[in-house]
C-alpha cells in the first residue's frame, strides 16, 4: 500500500533572542522520519517542548512563530510539499490536509456562525458548492453525535460547550474530505467525562470517512485508544516508534517505560481521621449576579492529611477553595479552622489567620509577579508575616529553595527564566514560607507534563511528612486522588456527591456520577474506550 504521508529526516530550527546575548539558532526537531498510510492513525507522544506540535504542523508545511523547516522531506502522495510555493501550499492546506487545534474556543472566530466556519474551506477551495457543503456538514454533525445537527450550524461558538466546539472543529477539518487530519491535543483541555465522548466521536468519524490522522497528545492512555502506530518524542528526537500494541505493552526504551508506568507516587490512607483541622458545614455560595455555585456543601479535613476534591470544570471545586480563602464569602454555612470559626470575608481575617491558609494555583505563570525575582517572591511572606529582613531572610529563602529541591542559583531569576515545574516549585516555596497549617492546591499539576507533575506530587508528599501540613487538593484527575488522598470529596454541579475516606469513596457501590467519573479516566489499555462506552450507566451531561 502506498504511503499517504512520508516524512524523511525532518529538521526544524528556530532563532531565539536571549536578552543581552547574540541570537542563537536552536534545533527543535532533528532527524525525525515516519510513514502514514491511508486511513491509519499515528500518535505523536511527548512532553511539552518535545516538538510534537511542530512536527504535526510540518505536515501542512507550516512553521509556527519563527520555526523554519530546514531539512528533510515531507512527501504527501509522493510530492514534497516543502518545495511547493505559496500558492501550491495553499491548495494543499484545507483541501488535502486539515488541522484541529487544541483550544477550539480560541480557534473559532466568535463573530461567525459555526456552520459557516465549518464549510469555509470547502467553499474556498471550490470543492463543493454551498448546498453540498452544508449537506456534508450536517452529515458530519450527525456522525460526531452533536445535538440537534440540523440547527447546530446556526449557532455561534459561545453558544455551545467546549466538547461540542471541539467536535465542530473536527467537523470543520473533515468537511473538505481531506486525506489527512492533524489533531493537536484535541481533548487535552476537556474534562475526562467530555474527553471520552469527543474521543469516541473522533474515532468514529475517522473510521467512517476513512481519513488518515496524526494525533498529537501528551497522554499515552488517550492515544492508545485511537492510533494504530505510536511515535514517542523527546527533545525533538524520536525515542521509540512502533505499533500501539508494542509501545504500550512492550516498550523498548527506558523513557517510554517511564511514561507508561508514570504515577508511582503513592501513599496509603491515614487510618485515624478524627483530629479535625478544617470543617466546612452546609456552605452555600454564589456570585453577585445571583448565580449560585455551591449548594449545601459539608466536609472536613483531619490535621496533617490530604482531602482531595474531585470534579469536572463547573462542579464548584475551585469556588469552594475561594470560599475557604475568604475571597468569596459564603451566603450560608460556616467554616471552622482549628475549632474556631473563620470570618467569612477576607477583610475580616487577621494576618495570622491568613498566614495559616496558603494557596497554590494551577498556573504558576500567572500566580507569580513576572517582575519579581525568586528571592522577592519567596521572601515577601517572610518579611510580611515574620518581619524577617537582611541576611536572616536570605538564609531562610535559601533553606526553602533547598526544601523544594532547587538550588540557590535560582535566587535572582525571574519567573520567565524558569521551567513550568520550577515555577510551581517556587509557588510551593512561597506557600511554605508562611509556615501554613493548610495549603489549598488548585490543580497544581494539571498544566504540567506527567513526569514533572509526578515530581511535584512527590515533593508535596515529602513536605507533608516533614512539616505535617494539611492539603486540600483540588483536581479532576482520579489517578492523583488515588495516589495522595486520605479522604475524598466528589463534587458535581455545585453539590457534594460523595465524601469519606478514600477507600470508601473509591470502592463500590458507586452512585451514577462517581461511576461515570471513575470510568472516564483513560486507561493504558487497547480497546478500553469501546469497553467503557458499553458499560457506563450515565451519559455525560450536555456533551
Amino acid at each position: 500500500m502506498p504511503e499517504l504521508l512520508s516524512v524523511k529526516n525532518l529538521k526544524i530550527e528556530a532563532t531565539s533572542y536571549p536578552p543581552g546575548e547574540p541570537p542563537k539558532v536552536v534545533t527543535l526537531v532533528e532527524d525525525v522520519s515516519f510513514d502514514l498510510q491511508k486511513g491509519k492513525v499515528l500518535g505523536l507522544i511527548g512532553e511539552s517542548g518535545a516538538g510534537k506540535s511542530t512536527i504535526g504542523l510540518s505536515a501542512l508545511a507550516y512553521g509556527r512563530g519563527g520555526c523554519r523547516i530546514t531539512g528533510g522531506e515531507v512527501l504527501l502522495n509522493g510530492r514534497d510539499i516543502l518545495k511547493l510555493g505559496r500558492g501550491g501550499i495553499n491548495s494543499v492546506r484545507g483541501r488535502h490536509v486539515c488541522y484541529v487545534a487544541q483550544s477550539a474556543a480560541a480557534a473559532f472566530n466568535p463573530a461567525h456562525k459555526l456552520g459557516d466556519q465549518v464549510i469555509e474551506a470547502s467553499l474556498r477551495h471550490g470543492i463543493m458548492n454551498r448546498d453540498e457543503a452544508t449537506k456534508r456538514a450536517l452529515y458530519l454533525f450527525r456522525v460526531l453525535g452533536l445535538p440537534n445537527p440540523e440547527t447546530f450550524g446556526d449557532r455561534y461558538p459561545h453558544q455551545v460547550s467546549g466538547g461540542q466546539l471541539q467536535r465542530a472543529m473536527t467537523a470543520m477539518a473533515l468537511c473538505p474530505n481531506p486525506e489527512l487530519i492533524v489533531f493537536d491535543e484535541p481533548t487535552t483541555a476537556l474534562d475526562v467525562t467530555t474527553q471520552i465522548d469527543v474521543l469516541a466521536a473522533i474515532k468514529h468519524a475517522i473510521e467512517e470517512t476513512d481519513t488518515a490522522a496524526l494525533y498529537i497528545t501528551h497522554d499515552l492512555a488517550v492515544v492508545a485508544q485511537i492510533s494504530d502506530d505510536i511515535m514517542v518524542l523527546r527533545h525533538g528526537k524520536t525515542v521509540e516508534y512502533g505499533t500501539t500494541k508494542q509501545v504500550i505493552e512492550a516498550p523498548r526504551e527506558e523513557y517510554t517505560r517511564a511514561l507508561v508506568s508514570v504515577r508511582q507516587a503513592k501513599r496509603d490512607e491515614a487510618p485515624d481521621q478524627t483530629d479535625t483541622l478544617l470543617k466546612i458545614e452546609h456552605v452555600h455560595a454564589g456570585y453577585a449576579n445571583g448565580f449560585k455555585v455551591l449548594h449545601d456543601v459539608s466536609m472536613h479535613l483531619p490535621k496533617g492529611q490530604t482531602l482531595a476534591i474531585v470534579g469536572e470544570s463547573g462542579s464548584g471545586k475551585s469556588t469552594l477553595a475561594r470560599v475557604i480563602t475568604g475571597l468569596l464569602p459564603p451566603s450560608e454555612g460556616r467554616i471552622t479552622f482549628e475549632g474556631k470559626e473563620l470570618p467569612k470575608a477576607l477583610k475580616g481575617r487577621t494576618n495570622d489567620e491568613l498566614r495559616r491558609i496558603q494557596m497554590i494555583y494551577q498556573m504558576a505563570d500567572t500566580a507569580m509577579n513576572p517582575r519579581q525575582t525568586v528571592r522577592e517572591i519567596v521572601g515577601r511572606p517572610l518579611s510580611f508575616y515574620f518581619g524577617m529582613h537582611g541576611a536572616k531572610k536570605t538564609e531562610r529563602v535559601k533553606e526553602l529553595l533547598d526544601q523544594i529541591e532547587m538550588g540557590t542559583r535560582f535566587l535572582d531569576r525571574y519567573p520567565a527564566e524558569l521551567s513550568g515545574g520550577q515555577k510551581q516549585r517556587v509557588a510551593i516555596a512561597r506557600a511554605l514560607a508562611a509556615k501554613p497549617e493548610l495549603i489549598l492546591c488548585d490543580e497544581p499539576t494539571s498544566a504540567l507534563d506527567p513526569l514533572v507533575a509526578e515530581g511535584i506530587l512527590n515533593l508535596l508528599l515529602k513536605l507533608q511528612e516533614e512539616t505535617a501540613v494539611s492539603y486540600v487538593f483540588i483536581t479532576h484527575d482520579i489517578a492523583i486522588v488515588r495516589a495522595i488522598a486520605d479522604s475524598v470529596a466528589v463534587m458535581h454541579r455545585g453539590r457534594l456527591v460523595r465524601f469519606g475516606p478514600k477507600s470508601k469513596v473509591l470502592s463500590p457501590p458507586f452512585d451514577d456520577y462517581t461511576d461515570l467519573l471513575l470510568k472516564s479516566v483513560p486507561e493504558m489499555e487497547i480497546g478500553w474506550l469501546e469497553k467503557v462506552l458499553k458499560t457506563r450507566r450515565m451519559e455525560s451531561a450536555g456533551n
Binding site: 500567572t366 515577601r380 510580611f384 508575616y385
Partner: protein
C-alpha cells in the same frame, strides 16, 4: 545595565535631551545675548553676529531659543510628571478598589473629559491669577484625565491576575498591591504614553501661549516664539521654523529614549511579553 547595551537610537535621544537640559540650566552663560535684549534689525538672516538671525522685534533668536528651553521644558515636564502621578494613583486606586470608588472616579473623569480641554483651560486660566505654577497645575489636571483612562484599563488587566489575588490572600494592603504588584507590570504602556503626553504638553503650552494665557511675553518659550514669528513666513523668513524644529527635535528625542526604556521593561527577562 551597562552603557554598551544602550542602542544607538537611544543615545541620540539621550544626547538631545542632555543638550536641551544644559541649555535650560546654564542659559545665562550659554546665551550670547540677553533674553529680552533688542540687538538689531528685525528678522535678520542667519549668520554674522546672530547665529540664527533675529526675531520680529530684533532680538537674537539663538539666545531666546536657549532661554526658551528653560520655560518650555520645565513647564511641559512638570505638567506631564504631575499629570502622570495624579492620573496613575487615582486610576490604580480605582482599579484595585472597584465598586463605588471606581464608579466615582471614573464618572468624574468622564465629566472632566466631556468639556473640551482647550476651553476648560481658557476659562480656568482666565479666572485664576497668572502664576507659572497655576499654569502647570491646570495643564497637569487636564492631562491626567487621559492618563486615568489608560491607567485604569491596564491596571484592571493586571489586577485580575492571580499574583495580585495571591498578594490579597497574604493580607497585603492596597499600597503594596498598587506599587509593587501592579505598577511594575504596567510600566510599558504608561511609558509609551508618557513620551506622547510630553510632546502634547509642549504643544498645548504653545497653544496657550499663542492665545495669550500661557507664558507671558516678553519671557521666551518655544511655542510663543513660533507665534511671534509666524507672520514672517509670508515674507519668506524662516525664523518661526527654528523654534518649531526645536520642539520637534525634543519630542523625538524624548520618544527615542522612551522607546528604548519600553523595550527594556517589556523584554523577556522579568517581562510580560509585549504588553
Amino acid at each position: 545595565m551597562n552603557l554598551r547595551s544602550i542602542p544607538f537610537s537611544a543615545w541620540i535621544g539621550i544626547i538631545g535631551i542632555a543638550v536641551a537640559l544644559l541649555c535650560a540650566l546654564f542659559a545665562p552663560v550659554l546665551a550670547p545675548f540677553g533674553e529680552r535684549e533688542v540687538v538689531g534689525e528685525i528678522w535678520l538672516p542667519a549668520g554674522g553676529d546672530f547665529l540664527l538671525g533675529t526675531d520680529n522685534l530684533g532680538r537674537d533668536l539663538l539666545s531666546r531659543l536657549i532661554y526658551g528651553a528653560r520655560t518650555t521644558i520645565f513647564v511641559a515636564l512638570a505638567a506631564t510628571v504631575l499629570s502622570f502621578a495624579l492620573g496613575m494613583i487615582l486610576s490604580f486606586t480605582a482599579a484595585v478598589t472597584g465598586g463605588f470608588v471606581d464608579q466615582f472616579f471614573s464618572r468624574f473623569n468622564d465629566l472632566m473629559m466631556a468639556v473640551p480641554t482647550l476651553i476648560f483651560a481658557l476659562v480656568v486660566l482666565a479666572v485664576l491669577p497668572q502664576h507659572l505654577w497655576i499654569l502647570v497645575l491646570v495643564m497637569a489636571v487636564l492631562d491626567s484625565t487621559r492618563v486615568f483612562r489608560i491607567g485604569r484599563a491596564v491596571a484592571l488587566d493586571v489586577a485580575v491576575m492571580e499574583f495580585v489575588e495571591a498578594a490579597r490572600l497574604r493580607g497585603e494592603g492596597n499600597v503594596w498591591i498598587i506599587f509593587r504588584e501592579i505598577l511594575p507590570n504596567t510600566l510599558s504602556p504608561l511609558l509609551a504614553e508618557f513620551g506622547l503626553r510630553f510632546a502634547f504638553s509642549i504643544l498645548f503650552l504653545s497653544t496657550l501661549s499663542f492665545l495669550g494665557l500661557g507664558i507671558q511675553p516678553p519671557a521666551a518659550d518655544w511655542g510663543g516664539m513660533v507665534k511671534d514669528n509666524k507672520d514672517g513666513i509670508i515674507f519668506g523668513i524662516s525664523a518661526a521654523l527654528i523654534p518649531g524644529a526645536a520642539i520637534a527635535a525634543l519630542a523625538i528625542c524624548v520618544n527615542l529614549v522612551v522607546d528604548w526604556l519600553m523595550k527594556r521593561t517589556s523584554s523577556l527577562k522579568g517581562g510580560r511579553g509585549d504588553a
